[in-house]
């Protein structure tokens, strides 16, 4: 059993996860977890990434820490970690 990372999905992405608020994924880096999510829920990675980088207006946290301070997509994750995805609340 390797799927031991909890990923919290925001409302706007729940159409991908059949309305599930929390899903399980596996991987040793954030990037690998996103790739695994996309295998389970095809199309979701495109909403998180743009040209291979995190989208500016998607916030990702590993255990409540903003991944921008943890190495971005290369942020290490391990079993038992919790990843939270939140769309930025922003505009002009």
């Amino acid at each position: 059993m390797t799927t031991a990372i909890e990923v919290r999905i925001p409302t706007i992405l729940r159409p991908f996860t059949k309305d599930q608020k929390v899903v399980a994924a596996s991987g040793e880096t954030l990037s690998a977890v996103i790739a695994d999510l996309d295998v389970q829920y095809p199309g979701i990675s495109e909403r998180l990434l743009e040209n291979g980088a995190l989208r500016r207006f998607i916030n990702l946290y590993v255990n409540d820490e903003d991944v921008r301070f943890l190495g971005g997509l290369e942020a290490p994750v391990k079993n038992g970690d919790s990843i939270t995805i939140l769309p930025a609340v922003a505009g002009g």
Binding site: I12, N59, P87, A88, V89, A90, G91
Partner: protein, 138 residues
């Protein structure tokens, strides 16, 4: 859909928008999950500190969602001010609107153009803006 909102909340949003001028002001009104009742106003810091942009600080954003989860609440209203333009969603507002269930409220503080402050509400879903009625109670 109609946004039902109290006059006290409207006044608080207008006062905050004027106080933070020339920067855009922003915040949320929360209510019990699934009820569409705007009950608890929570001003947020505009981390962009800009007259043309607003953004909740990522740390504040996470705390906000944790608080909502803990209290079984939802974001009913997301509001922000436009300092020099009308109370209509800008292209950036539409591009970044990430809460399909929320009422997006726009307050315009451009008094030299419109003598009365504009206050309008919208749904923004998949890039489509729909203005809605606002019903203000005492």
């Amino acid at each position: 859909m109609t946004l039902k909102i109290s006059k006290a909340h409207v006044d608080a949003m207008l006062a905050q928008s004027r106080a933070e001028y020339p920067d855009e002001a922003c915040g949320v009104i929360l209510g019990p999950q699934g009820k569409d009742q705007a009950l608890r106003l929570k001003p947020m810091i505009n981390a962009a500190h800009s007259p043309t942009f607003y953004e909740f600080d990522p740390k504040d954003l996470l705390s906000l969602y944790r608080e909502i989860d803990d209290n079984d609440e939802e974001i009913v209203v997301i509001y922000h001010s436009h300092t020099e333009t009308e109370a209509y969603p800008s292209r950036t507002d539409i591009a970044y609107a990430g809460e399909p269930g929320a009422h997006y409220v726009l307050v315009s503080t451009r008094e030299e153009i419109a003598p009365a402050t504009e206050f309008r509400s919208y749904r923004i879903i998949d890039g489509v803006v729909t203005e809605e009625e606002v019903s203000i109670s005492e």
